[in-house]
Symmetry: C2
């Protein structure tokens, strides 16, 4: 006999759990279905273990600064990567436990273990169980992309599913794909002692659209390990190791890190049973403000959408999907100003409108090189560039791109300002403490203010009472 619920949520990751919280709040009956390992992508293989590895790598790398500041003995420091990896797993396990506590741990018969498959827009099958649901939320997440041709040497290909499980690090690796994951882990692995080669078929890295920032980022990061850009990587077996070729470059490596992005986990879901438009990436068309799939009683959220795989966005999508799945009328919500951060050193961040989305005739750009920024100099981390974009006519801030120390913090200030519709002049009236990295924003704004209409104010930094 079919089980009847108000809402069926497929996937118990960040998006699914956020959806569940909304459904519960609305006091609807529900089931939460998951067939994989519990714990979110973020906690298990994403944000958290990567940040833990980066922190250790950064602490070890810092020894290169020691002689200059009077710390002696840096040459005797060594990295025990087995301990480092154990520390990463220890932190990861704690974060996973924390996610599970108070969510799936407390569910009883609302939780169904198994793989769900659509039989229709309001019917699912999980193994031999049929579930009729008034609404269904797809929150199945994603998995790392590994080219099928690499199956022959899959044991020597690492993804984020495997890298944190290693007992020791390989001597050499090619990192194929220089988006967020490739750059974060590539740099961390290099700093932990792995001979890393970074490869991407694009000439820009970290998803950067701004040519000035991307060029500067390539220049800075390639001082640590080689970046082969603009040509596809070809990987073949070679005497128990792997040969990696990209254009005229070639190298023999122990392992390859596949960091070419993640793919929505939708194949086994029977999406074709839904009478709706399916995109080339296999994702059904949906509305990003309601998370509704077409006109169906189906909602989608999180990495399954194939879009922003960023925790706070994924949680918002889960909330929106859950909120709407629990109600008769579908409500549209405003999405947050986009932020994307690559936590390499220096941080790379993009905020708001990207360079290529803007009409360059209608914007003013404010640029600040990090070289002379006082605080960055003191930190011995004065590399990078910050670029702000504002509308030439309204002076409203529209977007930013940067490679900068503390970029994660600057990105928040900039995103908050954009979301509130602040102009360059509004922002110059806000406090910038000295000496902080935030002064780089102030300098970029000042550079931009001179080029904007209405700049003639006597005291741009002060408001008359």
């Amino acid at each position: 006999m079919a089980r009847r619920v108000d809402v069926a949520i497929i996937g118990a990751g960040t998006a699914g759990l956020a959806a569940m919280a909304q459904v519960r709040k609305a006091k609807r009956s529900f089931v939460l279905i998951d067939g994989g390992e519990l714990g979110t992508t973020c906690a298990r293989v994403g944000c958290m273990p990567s940040k833990a590895a980066i922190q250790i790598a950064d602490d070890f790398h810092r020894r290169n600064h020691f002689a200059r500041i009077g710390i002696k003995g840096d040459e005797t420091l060594t990295m025990d990567s087995a301990v480092a990896l154990e520390r990463v797993r220890e932190l990861r396990d704690m974060f996973v436990d924390r996610v599970l506590a108070g969510t799936t741990d407390e569910l009883t018969d609302e939780f169904i273990e198994g793989r769900a498959e659509f039989m229709g827009p309001d019917v699912l099958r999980v193994d031999d169980q049929v579930i009729n649901a008034r609404r269904i939320v797809i929150a199945t997440g994603s998995r790392p992309i590994v080219p099928p041709a690499w199956a022959a040497f899959r044991d020597r290909v690492l993804t984020t599913d495997e890298i944190f499980e290693q007992e020791a690090l390989p001597g050499s690796m090619a990192v194929v794909g220089l988006g967020v994951i490739g750059l974060e882990l590539g740099q961390a692995l290099h700093r932990l002692g792995v001979r890393v080669t970074g490869i991407d078929q694009l000439t820009r890295i970290a998803g950067l659209q701004d040519p000035v920032v991307s060029d500067n980022a390539c220049e800075i990061l390639s001082q640590e390990f080689p970046l082969w850009l603009g040509k596809t990587a070809e990987v073949t077996e070679h005497e128990g190791k792997l040969r990696v070729k990209s254009g005229e470059h070639s190298a023999i490596v122990d392992k390859v890190l596949a960091s070419m992005g993640r793919k929505p986990d939708l194949e086994t879901l029977g999406i074709d049973k839904l009478d709706t438009e399916i995109g080339t990436n296999g994702v059904p068309a949906f509305d990003a403000n309601t998370m509704q799939v077409g006109e169906l009683p189906v909602f989608i959220a999180g990495d399954a959408t194939g879009e922003k795989a960023i925790l706070h966005e994924v949680a918002d999508e889960g909330r929106i999907a859950g909120y709407n799945a629990a109600r008769e009328e579908v409500r549209a919500f405003r999405r947050k100003v986009p932020i994307a951060i690559t936590f390499c050193d220096p941080n790379i961040a993009s905020v708001g409108a990207a360079w290529t989305e803007l009409n360059q005739e209608s914007i003013a750009v404010g640029e600040m090189r990090i070289g002379p920024v006082g605080r960055a100099l003191i930190m011995g981390r004065n590399r990078g560039v910050l670029r702000l974009y504002a509308d030439k006519n309204t002076a409203k801030l529209l977007g930013a791109a940067m490679i900068a120390p503390g970029g994660e913090h600057l990105a928040h200030l900039i995103a908050w300002s954009i979301q509130q519709g602040l102009t360059v002049f509004d922002m110059l009236k806000l406090p910038y403490y000295h000496p902080t990295l935030e002064e780089a924003i102030q300098s970029a704004l000042q550079a931009m203010a001179a080029r904007l209409k209405g700049a003639a104010s006597d005291l741009a930094s002060l408001d008359s009472l």
Copy 2:
């Protein structure tokens, strides 16, 4: 013969130079008078050399974290404080040069070297030169307070004027006064290898008003070096060293750091020639929005005011004073939301209204302990507490106090939000990237939101379209 100018500016520090820029912009004739060493307090003995020392001390201290994360050999690291101090001076000299370049360097007969003295509200004497000025700006700065009783062993008392000039560090020091300078330098000296004892007659440190944050700050910082609080320090000579007593505590130390604050440099200025009210601290009464002294054609700015000795505030004061000194009508300007940061580890920061300025009946408090903050855990810096204050009725954010890693960054976000009049609910709708320290603000806001009127929103973090 008396020299006639539109504006005479006394003091070529941050405030004086900011005032000069405004006077120049208004195309007024002026003189800039300074009798001391050129270069701002900030660059010479304040913000910059202290941050440089803190950075080095923090880098060295970090070795205590190494074993846990797989870095071996930390026990062989040593600090060569002579090299460290040389590095501090090298950075300082660069910052001083930068301040001088393009300001006093390019002045010719507009710059007068010497000590100015009022003969009346529009007449100054500098040595044997008389200057008639339509307006006068007092920007004479401040100097460290050293109790007169310490004159007998002044050679063993260090202030910020002397500490960065040392060739090597003493074996032991008492730090008397645990405000910004005492805590920043006290912790840095301790971490560089000096046996430090911190003493303050107050029971709260870093100027904190919030009892919870102050208690937590004392607890955290006293794990590194002893803090003797609540009793005045008595210092006496003892066999070539110094005996320091405070209540029942007593110690013998090599040197004392006098960090009891700074005193406006006004004594030799002949302020008594001005027919105006003089405060107990020797500072003439002035309006903080116009910087005008009483009704006189005299303005005051910067450390000379005896108030916020914080660079961006001092620069604002200089701008306001210079703007008004260059014009017939006096204009009032809005001052920025106050921020005060002590750059110890973790950072201590106060923003907006202080705890003691608020009616505790009418506010809601949002508290977040840093212990469980994911990113802080990963950094191995998860100590501290963040407290936000909002108006119970309007939900507007009013102030904050914290001891927190990255407090300098959180303080900016909070100050910007207060200056824009944001409510707790407005702030919850802004993006918080994961995993960042900024999520501590989000958690504190969530804790507070539940206690505020109008909290019943279904989706506090999302706006309907």
